[in-house]
Amino acid sequence: MSIELPETAGVTEQSPEELEALLDELVIGRDDHLNAPGYVIKPDTVVESLRRLRDDAGFDHLSCVTAQEYDDRYESIYHLKKFDDPTQEVSIVVPADKENPVSQSANAVFRTADWHEREAYDLVGIEYDEHPNLKRILLPDTWQGHPLGQSYDQDQPQVVPLREHKNPLLEDQRAASESETMYLNIGPHHPATHGVLHVKAVLDGEQVVDLEPDIGYLHRCEEQMCQNSTYRYQIMPYPDRWDYISAGLLNEWAYARVAEDMADIEVPEYAQVIRTMGAELCRMAAHFLALGTFALDIYGDFTAIFMYSIRDRERVQNILEDLTGQRLMFNYFRLGGVVWDLPEPREEFIENARDYLEELPTALEEYHDMMTANEILQLRTVDTGVLPPEVAKSYGATGPVARGSGIDYDLRRDDPYGYYDKLDWDVVVEDGCDNYSRLLVRMREVEQSAKIVEQCLDLLEDWPEDERTIQANVPRTIKPKDDTEIYRAVEGAKGELGIYIRADGTEKPARFKIRSPCFSNLQTLPEMSNGEYVPDAIASLGSLDIVLGEVDR
């Protein structure tokens, strides 16, 4: 009954010693993490080390870049994985001088390093040599200080000159008279940007010449909030607010997984089944909104598809509300399990959920009739916003965006957690690489999620009454050992949602870094849009399905 694992024969696994031999003279020390071996290298050999690991050992996925400040040094960590087998991981640790923190940029090897390193510069203050565009990304350009650095005083006032906020449209923005291009601001308040994204576009007629997403309009200091909270209870409500499109349980799982692995907590099987079911319901709700807003972006369909998708979301939310007590911010997971069992009467809950799943194929048929079979939508989406797989990999794209480009990468199967490996379902992959493929992937993933939920319901129904353990025995306070470091990821609604935690022996994390899938996915937007028409760029943005809460954190 379990799903078939992908062919990993071609992916040779290297032992830590082999990797050390490969990096050879570059390694100056070891700093192993719980999830992967870590090699310390000099700050001017970043490109060389990463290139060797990518070309000779097959580590083609720069998952995350974590920056942090210690008492005696700064540190950047490059978390590397393989797209073919994400359980093979390696960390490259790059210490930088405390007085003059300069480190080489990895942008030459992995394009995704561009934004990750800008964020590290913005929040922690490490400067990256050879970086093409090292400026602030999340905070305004006028910000003084680096808020996640040790010497930052949060109460210091910020001084902002008025000219920074003057109306950009007051003066004529036309370039010099010979120039043929026009500069167009889209957002941060614009219905097509799915929140508060600002896109700076340079147009030649109707065509996009250059496009630059400007983020940070919803940077609510999630990492700082988590660093100020205790592991046991206080952190769990925050993940709900990263990807807030009903994907709460998926995000909570990211934190639950990393903290449970760190504190060595075993989750009862029954709780894993409930988690799996809840998470997949969340994925369905999240994908429905992606469908609805995509139709809204493509042909302004506010009356039919958008309303239909909200209708289906309402039904999923009703089930989730019965389960968790909340419509949107569930706060349902606890370390070691879930907070409570299925609601009583159980039969009624299971029947409600089954009723919904029964009607789902008809609803999906409607979506297919109105969307994928619709000629207008096909004209607008087929072969627009093309993202070749090599480019997607270099930018660290994951989730439906990667799977729409033919990259067979899904952490639920490749790095199994929860109950996924014991259920029967498929990973959806489309190789069209365009907006249409990404739409198809989402629609077909809804079917797969329904399949998973159905199997979970069967299991829950037949589970013996005296074996329904919803929580493991977890100590009241959790204090992982000093200097324990771990990076773990789960498959969120938008892709690989990872968390890096460094413990310092207290009950609060010393560094809590969130690897947001949308952050990496959004970086691909210029690649997809340059040379296309403006409406196609909007369609590409819609097909990326970003949530600004998760992009900015």
């Binding site: 003084q144 109306n167 308040h189 219905p191 309009y217 100020n228 909200i310």
Partner: protein
């Protein structure tokens, strides 16, 4: 099927006119004997203050700004859409342009980079305008209050008429808040403008501290500047 019907779609114009005239003359059509008419009696006049009438009209037909910030905007979308359908209360047409809107719902956390943009959107709305603060973040910063980048409530930037608590508030709560706002508008109340978000001062007048000294190279002494005082925020 409609294709089976070979008749073109026509209306008998002559009959429409006569029917309407007949109804007017005889007073038999229901439309002309409404409950409103009954309440007025035989007099076709209402005596009221013009202001009061205008307030009632304003409250009964509100144009909302389509404005999404964070998590609350998802619940706001649900409030506009099927099931909750805010349109039933005369407040359901989201306008994409602030120039066409008279109510702005602020659905989410406001951070330092977005606050000036939100102020500009608010400034672009025509008077009279009303503001609904949705969720705890617009009251105090909510769960993110201690963040270094989070503005501690919408009232730091623009005046708010109605606060709806919750994280996020349920659609029912938003509907209740909108109804309360309509009540207030009909009674001629609106939030007093107590906010002075842009207290500008000349850079040269600022108290000299480390930061100011550091910035002196970039900013002229007679430049106007704003000072975000995070520590003094509520």
């Amino acid at each position: 099927m409609s294709s089976d019907n070979q008749q073109p779609f026509v209306t008998d114009r002559s009959r429409v006119t006569t029917d309407t005239q007949d109804a007017r003359l005889t007073g038999q059509d229901d439309r002309f004997n409404s409950r409103l008419r009954e309440a007025f009696g035989s007099s076709p006049f209402i005596l009221t203050k013009f202001d009061k009438f205008m307030n009632w009209v304003r409250g009964s037909s509100m144009f909302m700004l389509q404005f999404g910030i964070a998590c609350c905007s998802i619940e706001m979308m649900h409030t506009y859409a099927v099931k909750h359908d805010l349109d039933r209360f005369g407040a359901g047409v989201p306008r994409a342009s602030p120039r066409q809107a008279d109510v702005i719902i602020i659905p989410g956390t406001i951070v330092s980079k977005f606050a000036p943009r939100m102020k500009r959107v608010y400034d672009q709305m025509p008077e009279p305008k009303f503001v609904i603060g949705m969720g705890s973040c617009t009251i105090s910063g909510g769960p993110f209050q201690e963040g270094y980048n989070v503005v501690k409530g919408a009232e730091e930037v623009i005046p708010v008429d109605i606060h709806i608590p919750g994280c996020p508030p349920r659609p029912e709560a938003l509907v209740y808040g909108v109804a309360k706002l309509q009540e207030r508008i009909a009674n001629g109340e609106s939030a007093p403008v107590v906010v002075k978000p842009y207290e500008l001062e000349q850079f040269g007048d600022l108290e000299r501290d480390e930061i100011v000294d550091q910035l002196a190279a970039e900013i002229d002494t007679d430049d106007l500047v704003m000072r975000y005082n995070w520590a003094d925020s509520p």
